[in-house]
Symmetry: C2
Subunit: 130 residues, 2 copies
């Protein structure tokens, strides 16, 4: 039960790299977690960000203010080349206030260990105030 | 924030029909929640069940013993034609014991309100004893 096959372990590592990039506020690490042609949809139902340049644009937009992002992982379930990441994103303003978003990411990871697709599921019911 | 567009509402209804079918132990309702050519993968990484006949076979296999299945919904997030369903499946044996499985389903719902794809994410870390 404690052993994972190689694919599943690679998938889990990619998810962990994604979380670590948010936790350390490291844009380059975030982009490196994605494939060059990776796709990010956040939230699902809105237009996708295709490729690292577009994903970097999304990151920049999220960091345009003075917010700090702290991901609190609830669960990672890796199944072969796909995974679910449940986490609470804590978004703190410089003033001390902020919000939380309970996100469920679904990810597909390529044989190179890079995220091919990351889809973030959340809606108004997933938001909270700090 | 409390209004959903038509697609999202339809997606949510399909997920709720799926949950209700489990809660009421209703195989026909479960099959009716899926498109005729719907696909069920449980868990992700294993071969898919394609079409209602195959999905019915999966249901029969799950119910071959004397288990009772009780889904406890934790969260449903519908985003356009896709959804995440977080729930704990409580599986009780006639003897009183049993197990729990914390499942994250990702679903894609067609314009007809039927589930096109349901993918269940869970692994050994999601299992518990009753």
């Amino acid at each position: 039960m404690s052993t994972e096959d190689e694919t599943t372990a690679r998938t889990r590592a990619a998810v962990e790299a994604y979380v670590r990039a948010w936790a350390t506020n490291d844009k380059e690490a975030l982009l490196a977690a994605f494939a060059e042609d990776g796709v990010w949809i956040d939230p699902v139902g809105t237009p996708p960000y295709r490729g690292r340049a577009a994903i970097g644009g999304f990151w920049d937009q999220a960091h345009a203010g003075d917010q700090r992002f702290t991901p609190e992982v609830r669960r990672i379930v890796a199944c072969g080349n796909e995974a679910i990441l449940l986490f609470r994103m804590v978004v703190r303003n410089a003033g001390g206030g902020g919000m939380t978003i309970d996100v469920c990411d679904q990810m597909v990871v390529g044989p190179d260990g890079k995220i091919q697709v990351a889809k973030a599921f959340w809606d108004a019911t997933c938001l909270g105030q700090l």
